[in-house]
Symmetry: C2
Subunit: 483 residues, 2 copies
């Protein structure tokens, strides 16, 4: 693609120029750009899925669904900006009689400037070149430079070609979008003064290293990293008594989905001591096949991770084997089990993420021990409760609210709906910010507030003009007004 022939400083300079145009573009124009990208991806879905499958082993069915999810996401952001609340327009009229007199003040969110997006390996569409970070940044008027993931480089390049061509045809400015690759380019991007924010999905060490770079710049910038997640699941004795087999089947499907390479994979499952759930889960996991992993490096790391869990005292292998060659044969599911008391003794070793189709059952003696061990669980994207309708789980829910951004009931965390209410982010290390990378409010990461005091109508953004020409929801003199 053409951008590959430009240097990084040429790309960031072009993005800075483009930022003036994208900031001045109307919401309708930018919605048109997003919809054009979505249409172009849909039109090329078959070709893209074929490339993606050859690079990631994720399978055509899953990848076809992921393209639809990705284009649906682009179209959601188009609707979000068209609706207009995302501008958070606030008007306080002047009050000359106040002490001191109050000026006319009008506040709006404006695009932050060029954004760097780091693709993830595990969602080659939805968290990659044209994924949520790119879509939400473009939506609010920020040019994007994507750092491709080396795990699907050909797909990244082909996707970028399609995105760039769709944006160009739809009238978006040159410089609004580019793709770079390689660790060196990625590092330089985070440190480039033209870049005003970073979106990242990936590992804890990689993400933390880039976070440290972003925050130690002469001018620090926000780093929106989604870094890892254990996704604890709590099952009560009453729920197990009622439907142990059904829960085992649901859990087996969830932790093995996509070869266990979801950031929402349930990696810790808290169950009461003395049940037959481990046996039920072993049974439900038995016929889950080994599956190819995303990259050779990931396939090598999986058995290493399994062996280090198995080597810890008082950890049992309930299902599967830790002696496997995931590179040659695919990753086969493994279920471990241990006691809450053991986790309390060695939390750092047992509460570490193992990327792949494995999960750890943790047996608790009662609510008190459960609460003690949950207090050791690091911040997560999700936390799940399986209980019976007549149980009072409010204290448990309060605790889970403190450790995750999404709390689920009677379900499994691996599905992430893309809508207005989604929260995909949680306390560190799940994310490095108070924001979400999925759902309508993801756009807020790439906006900064500006207030205009006693401004002439002519220089105001249309969203702030007295007659509300855009017809959007606003807060006027403290009251929310729909249009």
């Amino acid at each position: 693609m053409t951008t590959a022939t430009l240097s990084l400083s040429e790309l960031t300079a072009a993005a800075t120029e483009a930022a003036k145009v994208t900031a001045a573009a109307s919401d309708a124009e930018r919605a048109g750009w997003l919809n054009a990208v979505a249409d172009a991806l849909d039109a090329n879905a078959a070709e893209l899925v074929e490339i993606a499958d050859s690079e990631t082993s994720l399978g055509a069915a899953r990848l076809t669904g992921e393209v639809a999810r990705t284009t649906g996401q682009l179209r959601l952001f188009a609707r979000v900006i068209t609706e207009g609340s995302y501008l958070e327009a606030v008007i306080d009229h002047a009050d000359p009689s106040a002490t001191p007199p109050k000026p006319d003040l009008r506040r709006i969110l404006r695009p932050i400037g060029p954004v760097a997006v780091f693709s993830a390996s595990n969602f080659p569409f939805a968290f990659s070149v044209a994924g949520g970070d790119t879509a939400s940044a473009l939506a609010v008027g920020c040019p994007v430079i994507v750092k491709a993931h080396s795990g699907h480089l050909r797909l990244s390049e082909r996707t970028a070609e399609i995105v760039a061509e769709a944006l160009r045809s739809a009238g978006a400015p040159e410089g609004i979008f580019a793709l770079v690759s390689g660790r060196e380019q990625g590092t330089a991007l985070v440190q480039d003064p033209a870049i005003k924010a970073v979106g990242f999905t990936g590992s804890i060490p990689g993400g933390r290293a880039l976070f440290d770079l972003a925050t130690s710049r002469p001018e620090p910038i926000p780093f929106y990293g989604e870094l890892g997640s254990l996704n604890p699941v709590v099952i009560t004795g009453a729920a197990l008594a009622e439907r142990s087999g059904q829960l085992a089947a649901g859990l087996a499907a969830s932790f093995t989905m996509g070869a266990g390479q979801f950031c929402t994979k349930p990696g810790l499952v808290f169950i009461p001591a003395g049940t037959s759930f481990a046996a039920d889960l072993a049974e439900a996991t038995k016929d889950k096949p080994a599956a190819g992993m995303l990259t050779d490096r990931i396939a090598e790391a999986y058995p290493d991770g399994l062996r280090s869990v198995a080597s810890l005292p008082d950890v049992a292998v309930v299902s599967g084997t830790v002696d496997q060659d995931a590179g040659a044969n695919g990753a086969a599911p493994v279920v471990f089990s241990t006691s809450a008391a053991n986790v309390l003794q060695r939390p750092d070793e047992l509460l570490e993420e193992c990327f792949g189709p494995t999960t750890l059952l943790i047996e608790y003696s009662g609510p008190e021990e459960l609460s003690q061990v949950l207090a050791k669980v690091p911040g997560s994207l999700t936390a799940t409760v399986h209980a019976q309708p007549d149980e009072d789980v409010s204290a448990l829910v309060d605790q889970l609210t403190g450790l995750a951004g999404r709390v689920l009931f009677d379900g499994w965390p691996t599905g992430v709906a893309v809508n207005w209410a989604q929260q995909h982010g949680g306390p560190y290390p799940a994310t490095t910010s108070l924001f979400t990378s999925v759902g309508a409010t993801a756009v807020r990461r790439f906006q900064r507030p500006v207030a205009y005091q006693d401004a002439p109508e002519a220089v105001l953004h249309p969203a702030l003009r007295e007659g509300n020409p855009l017809g959007i929801p606003r807060r006027v003199d403290g009251e929310l007004v729909l249009r």
Copy 2:
């Protein structure tokens, strides 16, 4: 006060316990706490102003006004949480017919946990113990531990006594509020794992050092720092031709207000070359008296800062003298002038903040040079335009929007209204975040989003229950619903 007898770890442990109670408290309860604090401060205003004046030299009139501003701020936050939009409640109902099926998802903002607040020297009420950071954190249910500013320690202690007693009487939990002092305690506070966010107002070096601590923790936390600001003012030739004397009078009043110790002091004033504005400003500044500064250290630094500006090539002293003893005699106003060309040659030296009653006139040859030199100005809290009504300033306003959080027209930046639309924050180094420390939206700094998926009605926060028992604005299935 009692909290002084507890160690820091006892204080943060108490804050962590209190956080459970404050998070569970209703908006009406927390509004009651804020109003009780406001009432108590008003009732003790005379005593507080007397202590404050003895410690800060700011004068009874200004300080009395600042108490009113501070209690007004507490009451505004009480109204903000009562109105309920601050919870950002979003409900997406289930759609079992979608592919994949969509769960019921409900999102809300929850308190982040205990917050550390670092007081500023220059607003001993409004940005100190019971100031905006404290008020906005308490409003959303976060306990607060304030690090007192050494410049008004007695006032801090007395204010803290009044705040703590008012909170206790109003039924707030033990541990919701405490005061510590000393640099060592401040540093320990930022590093304490119990602290989940920091609010800070102060100098660039001090703020950056604490920002670096907060972001390099094992679990990094948001650091909301307001660090410094040059507050550029642009005056057009047409405006000067019409009202040079009036502009000079307004500027003189603004840059000398409070001995020039406002974070919104206009420190850079861009004027066309070849006018008589410098003489007009010298005339308007002539009778502004010297005024005592906040602390001995600040009074010592002021003449040092003046001398380093005066020592630069092609800088003229238009009014006042750099040879002064601000500690003994108070700080006397000084106006410098130079050319835009000179600023372009040595931007780092000339675009550095000098805390005190001084400002720098910068003469530009035309719009192009003005734009070039504005591009060198670091992020600011404010930027101001003085132009004539028939001038097209839209390109200028676009550029100023990029460098400041508040853009003013035909006014002076030193007044900061406390209302729904205020934005007190700008690009680094003005602030270290995308948020404001003044105005209704300041609460957003201390909230984190949590989504509940398929949750039973009984465990949901009232704001998310189907019947909207709180009667607050919410987004339901994509539509904003007022109540």
